[in-house]
Amino acid sequence: EDQVTQSPEALRLQEGESSSLNCSYTVSGLRGLFWYRQDPGKGPEFLFTLYSAGEEKEKERLKATLTKKESFLHITAPKPEDSATYLCAVLGGNEKLTFGTGTRLTIIP
């Protein structure tokens, strides 16, 4: 069974304080790793897809990286509007998308 573990569960940062969120996974036949952002009361919003170890994707202050066992979402100089829950998900060979429980990120002005 595919598994996704995200850490930390919650993270509070001062505005401008860079950090990283971790997503470790076990999957049979990785077909992709996905990062989503979820605001309170909203559905998840797709951010990135990573397909193979060594791959990196960037969007504004966010950069996602992938190894064979984990992915990191690096956030550089965050702003209060980056506050959200960040979800990681893996797509395995069975075409099932398995989500982690998320990291709740709070950026303090």
Partner: protein, 114 residues
């Protein structure tokens, strides 16, 4: 372009009552998903449709849950009868690519069972 539309946004019912949720996916997206999300948890798949066909309903509790996607567009998820443990957010999502992971989610339907 309109996103995934769900209704109702909120529903409060007594246990043992029926409830139904409706979803209209993004135009042209043949793949439709229903997910359940409990507080503090990630979404969990209930059912996936490719056009009108339910290709994965292994996680759908079929004794009380049912879903349909007539004409391969709109979909309805029904619970009858509802139980206290069904209180959660029911998310609908659609995707352009079959079997992919880039999903577009609606805002969800929050169900409270009293």
């Amino acid at each position: 372009e309109a996103g995934v539309v769900q209704s109702p946004r909120y529903k409060i019912i007594e246990k043992k009552q029926p409830v139904a949720f409706w979803c209209n996916p993004i135009s042209g997206h043949n793949t439709l998903y229903w997910y359940l999300q409990n507080l503090g948890q990630g979404p969990e798949l209930l059912i996936r449709y490719e056009n009108e066909e339910a290709v994965d309903d292994s996680q759908l509790p079929k004794d009380r849950f049912s879903a349909e996607r007539l004409k391969g567009v709109d979909s309805t998820l029904k619970i009858q009868p509802a139980e206290l443990g069904d209180s959660a957010v029911y998310l609908c999502a659609s995707s352009l690519r079959q079997g992919g992971g880039e999903l577009f989610f609606g805002e969800g339907s929050r169900l409270t069972v009293l």
